[in-house]
């Protein structure tokens, strides 16, 4: 009898142990052994091409952190998903936070998806670092205590590129013809660029909204030709930029071109014979700092091509989150948020360190404008532009290119 009870007990103990092993391993491990980070970014659709750089750079950052012994003695585990569209993005963010217990969510390129993810992040009080959504609205009306932005806001892009356009005499008293991507990002950017023009004495001869799935720009190009603007402005996004550049050069138009939203990969896809104009970037592969050079060399060694600005964003977001976790000895979102808000400084591979501005959680850092080289001067298919010095200049505050207190509508809860 005793023996029987004993056996039964053993069966029950064994069974519950087995259950524990089968049913809850993720939970137990998540809390003790590894730090999970959720990575969401579009991998398909018109932003998909950039998403691949984001994912590769995030993988690389995590591999480097783990090779160096992890964070606070714990390894990092990266959960990666295609965010697809704003609805799917928020569903996946929710699942990562509630089921997989991620410490934070990093990533995104689409401003529309950033908005839905930030709502989930705020509700669950989980840190979200936006690495690619540019809309001012995310830092303005839509700002959230738990959302931070390593990607620059539209105002920073416009003011950075605007400086270079003013130096070229393309603003005051000039007329612009703009093409704008017809979704959240584009609308926001158009608003910001109109504000810039109004403040600096220029006009728009036309501003056209272009659906994200339009591939043929010929009717618009013919219209630009007859409008004879002083400058053609691209507020386009993703593959639209490549299509536009290829066809602009095909039609042989010779009005100067500039853009306020840009990704290096899209210029590479257009090719040295088609790429032209003046464009702002948060980072590019020819920046002359030791950290940037090492990043470019390491990335190229693994993936066979240089990284572009989206890779910079996701790589640095993960690295600075890890740094904050080490500095606070914590993975709790609220502790990280407080640490960021206190103005913690981060390397970012540039000449000056950056920090998140407390008022809207925007990363304050240097930007650059790039100018397309004539096809004959391009040394290879990647080095097809020359870069400006960092903007703002070394003797200026990093905040001069960001939204001013009056322009910013952020009221953090």
């Amino acid at each position: 009898m005793n023996e029987l009870v004993d056996t039964r007990r053993r069966v029950i103990v064994g069974a519950s142990a087995a259950l524990a092993a089968v049913g809850f391993p993720a939970l137990i491990r998540a809390q003790s052994d590894v730090i999970r980070i959720g990575h969401l970014t579009p991998r398909t659709g018109f932003l998909g091409p950039l998403g691949e750089y984001a994912v590769q750079a995030a993988d690389m950052a995590v591999a480097e952190l783990n090779a160096a012994g992890g964070v606070n003695g714990r390894k990092i585990e990266l959960l990666k998903e295609d965010s697809v569209n704003p609805q799917t993005a928020s569903t996946k963010a929710e699942r990562m936070i509630e089921r997989d217990k991620v410490a934070c969510i990093i990533g995104e390129i689409s401003s529309a998806s950033c908005l839905t993810i930030s709502q989930v992040a705020e509700r669950t009080r989980t840190l979200f670092i936006n690495t690619g959504g540019n809309s001012d609205e995310l830092r303005g009306k839509g700002c959230k205590k738990f959302m931070f932005h390593i990607e620059s806001q539209n105002s920073m892009y416009v003011k950075t590129c605007g400086r270079s356009l003013m130096a070229q005499g393309l603003v005051k008293g000039k007329t612009w013809f703009s093409l704008t991507a017809d979704y959240a990002f584009g609308h926001d950017l158009l608003r910001v660029s109109k504000r810039f023009m109004a403040a600096n004495g220029g006009n728009f001869s036309a501003d056209k909204l272009v659906p994200t799935d339009v591939t043929d720009f010929s009717p618009l190009l013919l219209e630009i030709r007859s409008a004879k603007p002083d400058l053609v402005i691209s507020n386009l996004a993703g593959n639209q930029i490549t299509n536009f550049l290829k066809q602009y050069s095909e039609f042989g138009l010779n009005f100067p071109v500039a853009g306020f939203g840009f990704d290096t990969a899209l210029a590479w896809a257009a090719g040295p014979t088609n790429f032209l104009g003046t464009w702002p970037v948060v980072w590019h592969h020819m920046i002359d700092t030791p950290a940037s050079k090492k990043f470019v060399a390491d990335f190229t060694k693994i993936y066979g091509r240089p990284p572009e600005n989206q890779a910079w964003g996701d790589y640095n977001a993960i690295k600075l989150t890890a740094q904050a976790m080490i500095e606070t000895k914590s993975t709790e979102s609220i502790k990280l948020v407080e640490h960021f808000e206190k103005g913690a400084k981060f390397g970012l591979m540039k000449t000056r360190e950056g920090y998140f501005r407390k008022s809207d959680h925007q990363m304050m850092h240097e930007m650059y404008t790039v100018q397309a080289l004539p096809a004959a001067e391009a040394k290879n298919k990647y080095d097809i532009f020359r870069s400006s010095a960092p903007v703002p200049a070394a003797n200026e505050s990093l905040e001069v290119i960001a939204t001013t207190a009056e322009e910013n509508e952020c009221k953090m809860a």
Binding site: P211, V214, D216, S218, P219, N243, F251, G271, R305
Partner: protein, 283 residues
């Protein structure tokens, strides 16, 4: 307006093949756009060693042969099945193809440009047009003419047209449609490949480029009417002009919506499309 007519020629190349395969086999080929993308990617691969001409000549043939293989292994099993099954099949095939391109070539778009000898513009009064687009137009017109001749003036075309109307009767007359189906798959899918090569220098080459163009091509086929050769040709031009006119009127943001509205109107007034023939087995 004129630009719209010319723009219609891009849809034409893709829609013709789509219509051919549907008319004869009853397969709604959702993977047609994927073959267009494969055509563009192959052009970049082939073009790097054999140049633009080599790419234009070779890539459509390779894509066409791929089409024959797909027809033999997959489509053939679904001619008599419920159309929703072939819809699922080709939808799956499109996803596999897109992901395969992503795995082989990577997600960032590839760069490929118009060869220098074809660059430049033609000026007609105040109207300017790139020489390269005129070349695309010429290729499209040649394809339409050749296909028309093949279908209307050759014994091959007679069998295909009979097969569209009544495959059982063709069988009863002792003619096997199988080799014809293979040939049609080669032509139809090869045309998608050709469109891919021709458009690669002016559009972004990325894995989802097929999905981008397939919806417009479907709209063209539906507006034109199934089984109707000239219907598809006319519909391609009408769709091109509609987009062009809406954009020129200052509303580029509605240009995509406009073609769906057009499709709705055509379907309300002529449920079989502009020139759709009454095909018993599809009723």
């Amino acid at each position: 307006m004129l630009n719209g007519l010319l723009a219609g020629s891009y849809y034409l190349l893709i829609a013709l093949g789509l219509s051919l395969i549907f008319s004869l086999g009853g397969i709604v080929n959702l993977a047609h756009g994927a073959f267009y993308a494969i055509g563009a990617y192959l052009a970049v691969s082939i073009g790097s060693s054999l140049g633009f001409t080599g790419a234009v000549l070779l890539s459509p043939i390779v894509v066409g042969l791929l089409g024959v293989v797909v027809e033999r292994l997959l489509f053939r099993r679904f001619y008599k099945a419920d159309p929703s099954l072939s819809l699922l099949l080709t939808f799956g095939l499109a996803m596999v193809a897109e992901q395969a391109l992503r795995m082989i070539y990577g997600a960032p778009p590839l760069s490929w440009s118009i060869p220098p000898e074809l660059r430049g513009q033609v000026f007609i009064g105040d109207f300017v047009y790139p020489r390269y687009r005129l070349l695309i137009l010429a290729v499209a017109v040649t394809c339409v003419a050749a296909l028309w001749f093949l279908l209307q003036r050759t014994p091959f075309g007679r069998v295909v047209r009979a097969g569209v109307q009544n495959p059982d009767m063709v069988g009863a007359l002792g003619i096997s449609l199988e080799p014809y189906m293979g040939a049609i798959a080669f032509l139809g899918i090869g045309l998608a490949g050709l469109a891919g090569v021709m458009l690669a220098p002016i559009f972004a080459i990325h894995p989802a480029m097929g999905a981008e163009i397939i919806t417009s091509a479907f709209v063209v086929v539906v507006i034109g009417g199934l089984g109707s050769f000239w219907g598809v040709v006319l519909a391609a031009l009408v769709v091109g002009v509609t987009k062009g006119v809406v954009t020129a009127a200052g509303y580029p943001q509605y240009s995509e919506a406009a073609i769906y509205l057009l499709m709705l109107l055509v379907l309300l007034l002529r449920p079989r499309g502009l020139f759709g023939e009454r095909i018993l087995r599809f009723e």
